[in-house]
Symmetry: none
Subunit: 333 residues, 2 copies
DNA sequence: CACCCCTCTA
DNA sequence: TAGAGGGGTG
């Protein structure tokens, strides 16, 4: 059976808001390591991979692996019945054909119990290669969202160019062209460092527990050993490692993106073009995490990753291969 | 070439929000005196006249006169890509077929560069007569907006009656009739005074200071020598000249209409009826200026004027000549 | 393209 | 609790 207890319904709500427009149905793969969901988006262009790690639940028990086929639209509806601070307990017996959800108010004076029908979904579990990316950009998630929204007003796709100096997002369209250049924050230049060669490790937790140190963050390793409840420091610690200088006071009315800064880990310059429709959708996850990281290599799907307290949400999107790019490749041969 | 630098994108955004629903295309007439835009609204009922004076730009350079035909919808879209505090630089070479816009974050860690296609627009430059109005009402712009919005819920047009005692806005409709009477603030009665014969002033407040003409603005800055660079205090201080009672702490974000009061300069009583649809549109400029002035003479187009730090925005609208009014006129003979 | 509703922030 | 901004619908 499964019994997983989440401290705050809010995180589940945000998660569903983040992915429900991309994916309508999916299997919640429950194991003793946690709950994962992996699915192609409805048009089979993007891949969504969510992982909620067992240790980050208030309590977690899963006796055996269970794929729970859920309709995310339904789940969203039911989660709307929970207040943000409610404690949520997910329950499913081993032979479940439905998922139970219990919402308890913090004062324990209200209990909501819901049951959602499950469905059978053919498991197309995709192996996500543990890619080594040429460029990893970490930035404010709200700034990322802002840029995607802005450029989406101009054109349908965005070219992302990462160099040591910064990252440029540019788009072209009928009304005109536009580009946004974010300069790398001072003191965060870690390009060409050996650490930059590490692969992304956040999601494939299982695969490389030891390799966790894409930017020399020993503390993160600690958490694996004794990650009781200090989990919420997890993401913060990581941030403070990378950019202590961003600790300035936060001017609230400027969407606080200022005090996060941009860090670029660059193995090789990259220039890739993506559909803004999808990126805008990915960016809806901004409420989940202050930071987002973009992982890119030429001709390889982009990985957009949000790390939050309870786990990780990843989006993969293949670059647009327009005529320009094809010609480029031909000539490059 | 043109290169004009604006300290805060916010003012441009507000300007476009203010006029984009009335005018979709127009020429930005750039001269060494500044940037002007004059256009009939899309249904050729109202006239919009915007003037941004060169001196109020952070820097301004315009080598020769250039009419830049812009689509205001496109310009609005591009301005949405700027944050409110961004520094905006408008650029156009002499033979430009596009307008460049550069948005720089205050911290200079983000640069947005946009290019907007220009269009050829037949210049129908209208001479606006320097009319002497029988009545000039100065009031809180947000109060004006509120009244227009309220009355628009009742009827399609509003009758504005200005007398020495105050100004009455009234409307009639299916659900009922309504009127708002604003009494003139104490101490501002200047009707039949010689000053009331002056032509439209940029900022009627200045009339309180005897004879300060609209072109002598620079001196106003001087006399307030203590406000170093914070030009944004300028307009506030000016107000405090005219009505010291408004000198209280100016809470900027809540445009408290209360402490602005109503002043009426009356040469002759007027009673005119206007389409609320248009007035409501004009009133959208409220974020630009704390005050608005309404200039009226019987049977002459209304002038609604907003004076802000960088310039002036004027709207002209012919009165409705409904049967009621025609009959009135006939009987008046 | 405009209008209305909902959500988030102040 | 009210206002502003963003998203969605007609």
């Amino acid at each position: 059976m499964l019994e997983a207890r989440v401290k705050q319904a809010a995180v589940l709500k945000k998660l569903l808001d983040a992915i429900k427009e991309l994916v309508t149905d999916g299997n919640l793969d429950c194991t003793d390591e946690g709950i994962a969901l992996q699915a192609m988006d409805n048009s089979h262009v993007a891949l969504v991979s969510l992982k909620l790690v067992a240790e980050q639940f208030e309590s977690y028990r899963c006796d055996r692996n269970m794929p729970l086929g859920v309709n995310l639209t339904s789940l969203t509806k039911i989660l709307k019945c929970a207040k943000d601070q409610d404690v949520v307990t997910l329950k499913a017996p081993d032979d479940a054909d439905s998922l139970g959800l219990v919402f308890e108010s913090p004062k324990e004076d209200r209990v909501g119990e819901y049951e959602m029908k499950l469905m059978d979904i053919d498991q197309e579990h995709l192996g996500i290669p543990d890619t080594q990316y040429d460029a990893t950009i970490t930035m404010s998630s709200s700034e990322f969202q802002r840029i995607c929204r802005d450029l989406a007003a101009l054109g349908e796709s965005v070219k992302i160019e990462a160099s040591k100096e910064g990252v440029r997002f540019s788009s072209e369209g009928e009304v005109g062209n536009g580009s946004v250049l974010l300069k790398q924050s001072a003191g965060t230049d870690r390009s060409a460092g050996s650490s930059s060669k590490k692969a992304v490790k956040r999601d494939p937790d299982e695969e490389d527990e030891e390799e966790i140190e894409e930017d020399e963050k020993p503390e993160i390793d600690d958490e694996e050993g004794e990650d009781e409840q200090d989990d919420e420091d997890r993401s913060k610690k990581r941030k403070s490692n990378g950019k202590s200088k961003t600790a300035k006071k936060a001017k609230k009315d400027e969407s606080t993106s200022e005090d996060i800064g941009v860090s670029i880990i660059l193995e090789k310059q990259v220039s890739l073009t993506f559909s803004l429709k999808y990126l805008t959708n990915f960016a809806k996850s901004a409420p989940l995490a202050r930071e987002v990281s973009l992982h890119m290599s030429n001709d390889v799907p982009l990985l957009v990753q949000f790390d939050f307290e309870q786990g990780t949400l990843q989006f993969f999107l293949a670059p647009k291969v327009g005529w320009g790019l094809i010609l480029t490749n031909i000539h490059a041969d």
